[in-house]
Symmetry: C2
Subunit: 164 residues, 2 copies
């Protein structure tokens, strides 16, 4: 069975994220897959996702790390319960903190790969390390502290006005 | 004289950033101003800049902190030289590291303010602390380590293919 993207199993009400919501037509629709013991997301920035000419905008790189972090956390939660991704609903994580170290400029115009490793998993918290790879080189490293979404956040999902 | 935005004085070749480049028609065109000893950037996220319904996408918040950080660093460099923003060309800083702590969900649909303080300035490096404020509440805190752009990055500015 080919690996499935964790974001494809977020509940509809929680699938609007600009970075990784499959229902957000304006967004990036990032997809996080298992690849052995690592997780992977791929994305090719658009020409206007520029920082200085020739290089990718750092805020976009942060966005990739962010959504790959929460997606990896959800994938890890599946695995911790002995489930494959897609066997039952995906747990939804949100970001408590994001850190990105920009090691060198990331070239624009090539596909980027973000690879993640689960550094720590404790209770509702998952810490994910990520590296951003362009043309085979690691250009940035990141760390996301993801926390399973508190129940009271979900109350907002009835706020349809906020939707695109 | 009203304060002027530092991004309005970036050289044309360095004014394409998706976050804060005045020439990037697809981007956010963020503007950083002095406000006393703090710097400020304001931005109202669009409806599709959603995380979970009702709240702003964390990657966008990271982007605001990122560009406000480099803009604040440039503003600080003007001030350190006894210049007003716009008195001569703006120095261009890039991000070495970005950290964002998401303290609470940031409501979507209201203007956001990012306020910065210069924490450290040493050689080519400026450390900027930032807080993101929505409806009078601080919803996120960030820190940017900004470094004045190395000369060799500028070689890429002749790469017109990379432009939007």
């Amino acid at each position: 069975m080919p690996e499935r993207a964790v974001q494809d199993f977020y509940a509809d009400d929680l699938a609007w994220c600009y970075g990784c919501g499959r229902l957000n037509q304006e967004g990036f629709q990032l997809k996080t897959f298992w690849d052995g013991d690592e997780t992977v997301t791929r994305f090719t920035p658009r020409p206007y996702h520029i920082a200085i000419p020739g290089y990718v905008y750092g805020g976009l790189i942060g966005s990739l790390v962010d959504c790959h972090g929460t997606g990896s956390a959800a994938a890890a939660a599946y695995r911790a319960e002995g489930r494959q991704v897609g066997e039952g609903p995906a747990p939804r994580y949100v970001t408590a903190s994001l850190r990105v170290d920009y090691l060198k400029p990331t070239p624009l115009g090539v596909p980027l790969e973000v690879r993640g490793r689960i550094k720590e998993m404790k209770g509702r918290k998952v810490v994910v390390e990520a590296r951003v790879i362009a043309d085979g080189e690691v250009t940035a490293r990141g760390e996301v502290v993801a926390v399973q979404m508190p129940e009271h956040f979900a109350g907002k999902t009835t706020n349809r006005e906020a939707r695109p």
